[in-house]
């Protein structure tokens, strides 16, 4: 068994961002490791951490939880690409068979003013929560709901709303954007509700509050680079951004 597991081994050089704490000076540190093609990227980091501990060095801090691409915890920029080389794939779903023996891999956290680094590869994405708190919901108290079939929704709208609702809140869109804009993330939520009858009553208030909060949190502006869509592991489309822009214009007009 052990022998077979060794088949597919590869030697890699990793350059990993290490930073002791918020605001502390950080820098890349180089590590050599033997990985296996069947490992996931994060399992490779687990193995490295285990070796570090055995050598008496502090393990690398990185975030992860589900390891299935759905919780949005993992946030590594690999060789300059948020979530790494594979399209529509979170880091936790990336496997080492994407790499060859001898490769150099550079690993760093999301870089954005609104996501300050906490330690090593971990950053603070609390600003995303703030945007959602500003209006990412339908105000309905528990127990006050009518029968579910009282609210029919055309399938096309339901499907489009679902496409937008798939956002996992990872922040890759921000990390990929030259302006560190959170437009795609915000637009995904605004779109979900703009497409559904349940979202109608709070339509104007929601988009204004969420966009304003996005600005307050220090995210940059959107200048149509569309790097966000390319980096998004869930394939959230930039058409949501145009929808949000329309919603915003409509809401401000209506308010005046």
């Amino acid at each position: 068994m052990i022998q077979k597991a060794n088949h597919g081994d590869m030697r890699l050089t990793l350059e990993v961002w290490r930073q002791a704490g918020p605001g502390a000076p950080g820098g890349f540190k180089t590590y050599e490791i033997v990985a296996n093609e069947h490992m996931s990227f994060l399992e490779m980091l687990d193995v490295l951490n285990q070796q570090l501990v055995e050598r008496g060095e502090e393990p690398i801090v990185f975030e992860h939880d589900c390891r299935e691409g759905i919780c949005g915890s993992c946030n590594l920029t690999i060789d300059g690409k948020p979530h790494g080389p594979r399209e529509r794939t979170t880091v936790c779903q990336l496997h080492m068979r994407e790499y060859r023996s001898g490769d150099h891999i550079k690993i760093e956290p999301w870089r954005a003013n609104a996501f300050p680094i906490i330690r090593d590869l971990m950053c603070d994405r609390g600003s995303f929560d703030k945007i959602q708190q500003a209006g990412g919901y339908v105000s309905v108290n528990t127990g006050a709901a009518p029968d579910a079939h009282c609210i029919p929704v055309p399938k096309e709208d339901a499907d489009l709303a679902f496409d937008a609702a798939q956002c996992i809140g990872c922040g890759a869109c921000v990390a990929a954007c030259p302006n560190a804009s959170a437009m795609l993330f915000t637009a995904a939520k605004v779109s979900q509700y703009a497409l559904l009858p349940q979202g109608e009553p709070e339509r104007e208030r929601r988009v204004i509050a969420m966009v304003d909060t996005m600005d307050e949190q220090g995210f940059g502006n959107c200048s149509n680079h569309y790097e966000c869509e390319a980096a998004c592991p869930k394939g959230i489309s930039v058409t949501n951004i145009s929808r949000m822009n329309r919603e915003y214009a409509r809401a401000t007009l209506k308010k005046r």
């Binding site: 296996n36 093609e37 490779m44 390891r67 609702a165 809140g169």
Partner: protein, 647 residues
């Protein structure tokens, strides 16, 4: 005293189930419960630990009602709780398909599915409120799958004979959790919920016998914090990660529940764990978690292994007559569609015989070749395309060309803290919700029922039953200066210092992996008295090793993920022994608990209703002491006990 001869020493637990006809109990109970006057609610502080479906829905609803809510989670955002990963769907007795579903049928199926080891009245209530959950979620804008007419779509799930499962593609848990997260956000914005992210509850504070607060560790700064409240709600999830490898998220743990247990909350049925038959097998010693593949695959895939031991040929090179389609031959009428536990156990049997496949030998084939030949590649792609892609992403194999390799994995834990009908534990004022409690699934959970239970508990049950405590008891004001808070904080710090001071040689993960192996081998798919006794010894040895040889580096005053994991592993090390004791004492087979000694000639699980129609709840009785066993007898008024057969 060994646990095996302790049962006689038990006291009966009072479940506080209301009387009267089953279908009226919940309504009556709600009517009989005291109410907290809306203007008084803001005088009550409620702590909610966990923001998964159970905790998140409870926090939002209680805040809407006017209570002061403080919510806690270990994640950086409430949205990342493990509930996010649930795929398949959520059950509700809406009967939108008109196929004869009803509250009674859902109730009946759940009691039967739980192999008659759950509390009837709780299950009936669950079935009743299931319909309200869907209404609530739809009103929140949860994008469930819909038909062209604009109405909600349903499917049949996990062998149910009616279509009662609501779903949102393969991301039902995500969409439901984001709904609850939105509801929480609204209350956070309104100042009704104080949200504490990245905080780990490390102890429960009990004052004059009542749960009055918690101690948390700030996972960024390492600080210990004291929080008071009039009541504490735990929605901290299941304990599947005792096995190290499971389908649970990596940070799922038993700590909150275990800490509460050590402060007086009884732990019920810890041996009931659910093992899911269709997971992607482990590929090597570095494996960190297992991924679930939808069970629907068994509708078209054929399960087989080579007939001969150690056959290392590639699957395509093994001729038809040298393949053993063991489920089809053993269970001619159900074939590949036998229930989860039967499929899992048989996979273990053939791999134990040395007939497993793949690099580790711990896998069986799930072959789609015949289905592709019969229905065409396009049809199979339409049915399972996304699953095949996920499989390929992880394994690098293409299931259109070579059979999938699957193996069972730990998926859900039915046991949990014991609660009465009000969801109150044996510590007054401590309520437990969702997977963290033991309440509704008996010895086996049906597919799509965990999401239902978490949301039932949080949206509908707790908001009513919490009044039994808040309006029913005199609660003095307590402050964080109280002795009980001081003592709890001091003991938490001491534990942490102890972990940091070991300075041994072994990493947390290495020790956790080893514990996982022991639990899997001795208390996994098949248990026996001999194996369990041996397992208990191994767990004790390993626990000693842990306390002697653990190595946690770095500073406790900053982010220290190994220290977090070490604290959780310390609890799993203690918990695993209770789990095995429970499995030992339950000298019968039922649901997910299969005792090798209790099987029919055909290898089917044999229940012993005469002696084991009860819930076992363990009381902590001191470090290193065997816990004391208590029982809650189970009575069945509505559902007739029968034996399963899948021949």
């Amino acid at each position: 005293m060994t646990p095996a001869d302790s049962p006689t020493a038990s006291e009966c637990l009072d479940s506080k189930v209301p009387s009267g006809p089953m279908s009226e109990r919940w309504s009556r109970h709600k009517f009989d419960l005291k109410l907290v006057n809306p203007s008084n609610r803001r005088k009550f502080d409620v702590i909610v630990v966990g923001t998964g479906l159970a905790g998140g829905s409870a926090a939002a609803t209680l805040a809407e009602m006017g209570y002061n809510v403080k919510a806690f989670c270990t994640h950086d955002s409430p949205r990342r709780a493990h509930s996010i990963a649930a795929q398949g769907g959520i059950n509700a007795a809406k009967n939108y398909k008109g196929d004869g579903d009803s509250v009674h049928r859902l109730f009946y199926d759940t009691v039967k599915g739980g192999d008659y080891r759950s509390r009837e009245s709780n299950v009936h209530r669950l079935a009743e409120v299931s319909v309200d959950i869907i209404d609530q979620c739809v009103a929140q804008g949860v994008p469930f799958a819909r038909e062209y007419g604009g109405l909600l779509d349903n499917r049949s799930f996990g062998g149910a004979q009616v279509s009662r499962t609501f779903y949102a593609r393969g991301q039902t848990g995500q969409q439901l959790l984001l709904g609850a997260y939105g509801a929480m956000n609204r209350m956070i914005q309104a100042g009704r919920i104080e949200m504490y992210n990245r905080r780990e509850m490390v102890d429960l504070v009990v004052v004059d016998g009542v749960a009055r607060g918690i101690i948390t560790r700030n996972l960024i700064t390492g600080e210990y914090e004291r929080h008071t409240a009039h009541t504490v709600l735990l929605g901290s999830g299941g304990y599947g990660n005792a096995f190290f490898l499971s389908t649970n998220a990596k940070n799922s743990n038993v700590t909150a529940a275990w800490r509460a247990h050590k402060r007086g909350a009884f732990f019920a049925n810890p041996c009931y764990t659910q093992i899911h038959p269709t997971c992607i097998p482990r590929s090597g010693d570095y494996q960190s978690k297992l991924t679930l593949m939808s069970e629907s695959l068994r509708n078209d895939g054929r399960v087989w292994v080579p007939k001969t031991k150690g056959d290392s040929r590639a699957a395509v090179d093994i001729p038809e007559n040298e393949r053993d389609y063991y489920l089809e031959s053993k269970y001619p009428s159900f074939g590949n569609l036998v229930p989860r536990d039967v499929a899992s156990r048989n996979a273990k049997l053939v791999t134990d015989e040395g007939r497993g496949v793949g690099p580790t030998g711990e896998a069986v084939y799930l072959d789609f070749a015949d289905a592709i030949k019969r229905d065409g590649r396009d049809t199979i792609a339409a049915r399972y395309g996304n699953l095949f892609e996920m499989y390929e992403r992880i394994t690098g194999d293409n299931p259109y060309e070579v059979p999938m390799r699957i193996f069972p994995a730990v998926h859900y834990t039915m046991g949990g803290l014991w609660v009465d009908y009000n969801l109150e534990s044996t510590v007054p004022g401590l309520f437990v919700l969702g997977e963290a409690n033991f309440s509704d699934h008996g010895a086996n959970r049906l597919g799509a029922s965990a999401l239902m239970q978490g949301l039932a508990d949080g949206y509908f049950v707790i908001p009513a039953t919490i009044a039994s405590h808040l309006a029913g008891r005199q609660l003095q004001e307590v402050t964080t200066d109280h002795e009980a808070f001081k003592e709890a904080e001091a003991s938490s710090r001491e534990r942490m210092d102890k972990l940091m001071a070991i300075k041994g040689t072994r990493s947390v993960d290495a020790l956790h992996r080893e514990l996982g192996n022991v639990v899997w081998n001795h208390c996994g798919m098949e248990r026996s008295a001999e194996g369990l006794n041996e397992g208990i010894k191994k767990v004790r040895d390993l626990r000693d090793q842990f306390w002697q040889d653990l190595r946690v580096l770095g500073d406790p005053q900053t982010v220290n993920q190994d220290l977090e994991k070490a604290g959780r592993l310390a609890d799993f090390m203690e918990f695993a022994e209770v789990m095995m004791n429970d499995a030992l004492v339950r000298d019968e087979s039922c649901g997910g608990h299969f005792r090798a000694e209790h099987q029919s000639d055909e290898g089917e699980a044999k229940r012993d209703d005469e002696n084991f129609s009860h819930t076992t709840a363990w009381e902590f009785s001191g470090e290193g002491q065997l816990p004391k066993e208590h029982r809650e007898p189970l009575t069945f008024e509505e559902v007739k006990l029968t034996t399963r057969s899948y021949k």
